[in-house]
Amino acid sequence: MVEAKVLIVDDDQDVSKAIKAILNSEGYVVSCAGGSEEGMKMLESQQPDIVILDVMMSTSSEGFDMARVLRKNSRYKNIPILMLTAIKQKTGFDFKPSAGDPEWLPVDEFLDKPIEPDLLLAKVKALLEKTDE
């Protein structure tokens, strides 16, 4: 059982609930925020090891905007970000982390909805291990 702290920022609380249940089953400590503003406050209070961020919240790019803010902040810039989006379907482009412009799209991994539990757990684990290195 791991005890890493995960922050989920998604305006769809049902999705957050499902993600929380999956992560809880592996022992992660999970907190949820319904938008980027609440997310920024919880970052401060929870000090998460990883952030799971939805792209489309109140605006179609709220998730991207928050990711950019995190990357510019010296305290948070090293926290890995897993972005929830079918990016290809929304933009027509496939932004693999390796191909993405870190300035424009500063996230570490993508995950499509609906969430595949195994894939989510694998990606969170891999991102946390990468940070530990």
């Binding site: 999705v15 499902a18 249940a21 999956i22 079918a86 379907q89 027509g92 909805k113």
Partner: protein
């Protein structure tokens, strides 16, 4: 958009008239040669041959001017319109000179003015056509008058007529009256027909444009609705997955069974919505970002995606790649998706222990990708519908309940976005071979586009 195509049509017609002018130049020279050498008609040949040469030079100059004004990104169609109006007037002047040097009123070719009037009616507006008709009548009239008054010499068509007619007042008046009425009647009739055709053509174009707009509105609507549905479905499925996998506690067998059924149906619906979203997005975007990429890596990626599906049914996957260059041009993600869709279909509709073969080979300027299976095949009478959206063959529905009927539509859309081609061969209970070909180079894609 509409203006552009009209301008382009005018340009094409201007070139068509130029092609006719080569024939006219040859005809002037041939008629002069034939009349003097074979029919014994006395002609003032030198000016006529010179006019033939002048016609060639002037035509070459016009073509160069047309090319000059229409090359580059912003063709100057206003200049083309002026050239077209000018060339018709110039042709009338040249024809008048030809007639003057070859017997004037005695030459039966006077009625060749009619051809110019038809061309003017097609290319120019009604007013401009009538102006050209007036110009033709004036040119011909002044030529007759000046010859009659002997202001300019008359070259009698000896050998063709017995007596010179250029001072026969009654004959001149009769011929000129017929000439003028014929010219104006031709312009009137040809302009009426041309303007009716233009109006009908514009009507069709407007209707087409309207249909395209309506189709786009429909696609945008579908996109919005499916996107919203997908959000809800994603939430439902994510929650169901957690419960079915007992991440939220144990379930009794009946609960497990019912939830698994819900999960399966949600997955099917989710796949359908995703496919519909994908297809609609592609249709709305129209154009894809293209670059060079490795075909080998793309095929390997596609095969690894469907490997587990194939092994679950003990289906052997055979890969045969024989291409000169591994690099192809296109949208890598879409091409991989097209290959995956074909492979998934092949695996889905092939009974256990069958074989699915993926081939890639060169075919002239195209790269051909082919997926062949030993599956259930497509019934002959349904084969013409397999690329239709939402269509599933009757045996496919019986063999596998789940399916969106969108897979092949998506592949077709991807191939068309690449200016490629797609086709298939299939025999029921034997197997299906579906192939698509993509232009190997961007230049080929451009030229096909035109």
């Amino acid at each position: 958009m509409m203006q552009d195509s009209q301008d382009e049509r005018l340009l094409k017609r201007a070139y068509w008239v130029s092609r006719q002018r080569w024939i006219a130049a040859a005809l002037v020279c041939a008629a002069t040669y034939g009349s003097t050498n074979f029919f014994g008609i006395s002609l003032n040949s030198v000016p006529l041959y010179l006019i033939g040469v002048l016609l060639v030079a002037y035509n070459a100059l016009l073509i160069l001017l047309l090319k000059h004004f229409t090359r580059g990104e912003f063709p100057r169609y206003e200049a083309v319109k002026k050239i077209v109006a000018f060339q018709i007037s110039a042709d009338l002047v040249i024809l008048t000179f030809v007639l003057h040097y070859s017997g004037g009123i005695e030459n039966p070719f006077v009625f060749y003015f009619i051809f110019h009037m038809i061309i003017a009616s097609i290319l120019l507006s009604v007013t401009e056509s009538f102006l050209q008709a007036t110009f033709a009548c004036l040119l011909f009239g002044f030529m007759l008058l000046f010859e009659y008054e002997q202001i300019i010499p008359h070259y009698c068509l000896k050998g063709f007529i017995s007596n010179c007619l250029y001072q026969d007042t009654r004959y001149i008046m009769g011929t000129y009256f017929t000439f003028v009425t014929a010219i104006f009647l031709v312009v009137y009739m040809a302009s009426s027909i041309a303007s009716k055709m233009k109006k009908a053509e514009e009507g069709y174009r407007e209707a087409n444009e309207l249909l395209r707009q309506k189709d786009r509105i429909k696609d945008e609507y579908v996109l919005r609705v499916t996107h919203d549905i997908k959000g809800h479905l994603a939430a439902i499925k994510s929650c169901l997955d957690v419960v079915v996998r007992k991440m939220a506690g144990d379930l009794n067998p009946q609960q497990q069974d019912l939830l698994e059924t819900s999960q399966r149906r949600t997955t099917s619906l989710n796949n359908f919505v995703k496919a519909l979203l994908n297809l609609t997005t592609m249709k709305l975007q129209g154009k894809m970002e293209m670059s060079r990429f490795s075909l080998g890596d793309t095929i390997a990626g596609a095969l690894s995606t469907i490997e587990s599906n194939a092994s679950a049914k003990s289906i052997s996957l055979v890969r045969k790649i024989d291409v000169a260059s591994d690099e192809i041009f296109g949208n890598q993600v879409s091409v991989e998706e097209a290959i995956i869709d074909l492979l998934l279909n092949a695996v889905k509709y092939t009974p256990e222990k069958g074989t699915v073969t993926l081939r890639a080979e060169d075919n002239c300027a195209y790269v051909r990708i082919e997926v062949e299976d030993t599956g259930i095949g497509i019934p002959q009478k349904e084969q013409n519908r397999i690329f239709e959206e939402f269509f599933r063959a009757s045996n496919a529905r019986n063999f596998e309940r789940d399916g969106t009927g969108l897979g092949l539509s998506i592949v077709k859309q991807i191939v068309e976005s690449h200016k490629g081609r797609i086709g298939f061969e299939s025999k029921e209970n034997v197997g299906t071979k579906i192939w698509f070909e993509l232009p190997a180079h961007p230049i080929e894609a451009e030229s096909n586009h035109d």
